[in-house]
């Protein structure tokens, strides 16, 4: 973990309620896709946790949904503004377990860490299938970017306005030949996925956080190995750990 001040390069709206924030600064704390950062939003006491969408030696990006007071204030951040960010938090996805044909499943704000993972996997020459679920076509993000990377992308929307009508689980049947599953999205979605898949997998969780680095027990979750902190022991957990 590191605490650094980052400079905002860009804060761009990518769908009616979703933004991509690009920051430059020290990224030496970043280790693996699925890790998160904890952002101090000016005017708020607690930090806000976000998954890393991309990172390189110069900076990183997060994709955030305007979901409340803090994220609403973030939409007003301008190029050149500084942000105090804790980076390199949590344990990310284990790339070594992917096998040759991993299946990546994302819903809502889960797209961000899954995108990060897809970038690393394709960089290693592995072409994943990515199933992404959204409410409607206007909410679809990162589809083209993932296709440009070489991923096979399967889209679902609840209203059928793009891709398959329904939920991500409705699209799983068409991709049975996978070696490992990586999943991030709302809890009911992840539970449904865990009940439908044929292989082992890893799931990334969210919880309300006090600190994001293991100090407060605010984010505890029950697992098969006892109580674990989403921030420090997760946010990525193996299928074998999950008790739902």
């Amino acid at each position: 973990m590191r605490q650094d001040v980052f400079t905002i390069i860009d804060n761009r709206r990518v769908s009616p309620d979703t933004y991509v924030l690009t920051l430059s600064g020290n990224t030496s704390g970043f280790r693996s896709p699925g890790q998160f950062v904890n952002v101090s939003v000016p005017g708020f006491f607690l930090r806000r946790p976000f998954s890393v969408m991309t990172w390189d030696s110069e900076g990183f990006q997060i994709m955030y949904k305007n979901a409340g007071h803090g994220t609403d204030a973030m939409t007003g951040l301008k190029q050149g503004d500084s942000l105090d960010v804790l980076t390199g938090l949590g344990n990310g996805f284990d790339l070594d377990r992917s096998g040759k044909q991993p299946l990546l499943i994302a819903g809502g704000s889960g797209v961000s860490p899954i995108y990060c993972l897809a970038e690393r996997l394709t960089g290693n020459g592995i072409i994943p299938t990515v199933v992404m679920g959204f409410a409607s076509s206007e909410n679809v993000v990162m589809e083209e970017e993932l296709r440009a990377m070489g991923c096979r992308v399967v889209l679902t929307t609840e209203d059928g306005s793009s891709g398959i009508r329904g939920l991500v689980t409705d699209a799983l049947a068409i991709s049975e030949e996978y070696t490992f599953v990586y999943c991030c999205g709302p809890l009911p979605m992840m539970k449904a996925v865990s009940e439908k898949i044929f292989t082992d997998g890893q799931f990334s969780f969210e919880a309300r956080m006090g600190c994001g680095f293991g100090a407060c027990m605010g984010c505890s979750m029950m697992t098969a190995r006892g109580t674990k902190r989403v921030c420090k022991d997760g946010p990525v957990f193996g299928l074998e750990d999950l008790v739902w």
Binding site: F45, C216, M221
Partner: protein, 305 residues
Amino acid sequence: MVNTSVRLGNIELENPVIPASGTFAFGYEFADFYDINMLGAVVIKGLTRDERYGNPQPRIAECPGGMLNAIGLQNPGVEKVISEEIPKLRQCFQKPIIANVSGFSVDEYVECCEKLEQEPEVSMLEINISCPNVKHGGMSFGTDPGSASEVVRAVKRVTSKPVFIKLTPNITDITVMARACEDAGADGLTLINTLLGMRIDLNSRKPLLANKTGGYSGKGIFPVAVRMVYQVYESVKIPIIGVGGISSAEDVLEMMFAGASAVEIGAANLVSPYACRDLVRELPATMERYGIKELKSIIGEAHHG
């Protein structure tokens, strides 16, 4: 050169900065961030006789100038704290370790303290009779002078370690509780624990925390804590550890002027893992700025003249 050392009963601290229970886990987590030996002492997460999962999620909510928490005393139980957590902390920390003890009955406090008495690595006991986040216990001992005295007497009988009692601010007159604890034999007092609070989600129109209520802490409660330390300093002779909203070296001085012999830092650790380190670093220069050479000498100065 200024002198930052202070005393808590028979324990000498290099400086008065102590992370507060529940905001520093079992301490060793922070050793990855900086050398925690620069701290005066460490208070570990509140422990109970039996393992506790704590309250359902969500347990945390934002509020102006601070946060609400309703952790519900999650901990692995006193035996595991002694066999697993304290040894891990001791590996990276040579300064005094303070155990924070909660209970749901007098017997439970006693059982925990008996076990801790056998643990030489624990220098001091902080008895939490003020947790607002668990039912039937914790705070009910902290709001009734009779029950509080009973806990203090029972605990003092089974331990030779200094016993500090941690008081709740959720009471009309905190000095009544403070005096009851002193009369029953407490070696010192820690105050304050969190203020009982609530947030309601405008969309769901329901309380944000699963526990409905939570404890308010952070910057916003600082003046309440200063006032209570000031009042208690006037009513007892035993040393006081001041806690509540401290987030700068100036806050440390203010709390000590009010009457604190040392301070604990809570929610500030959650916002920045380096909060205590930065406080310790800034303290000497801040003392110089206010013309203070001996930190000990300023305790309770707000009361004089």
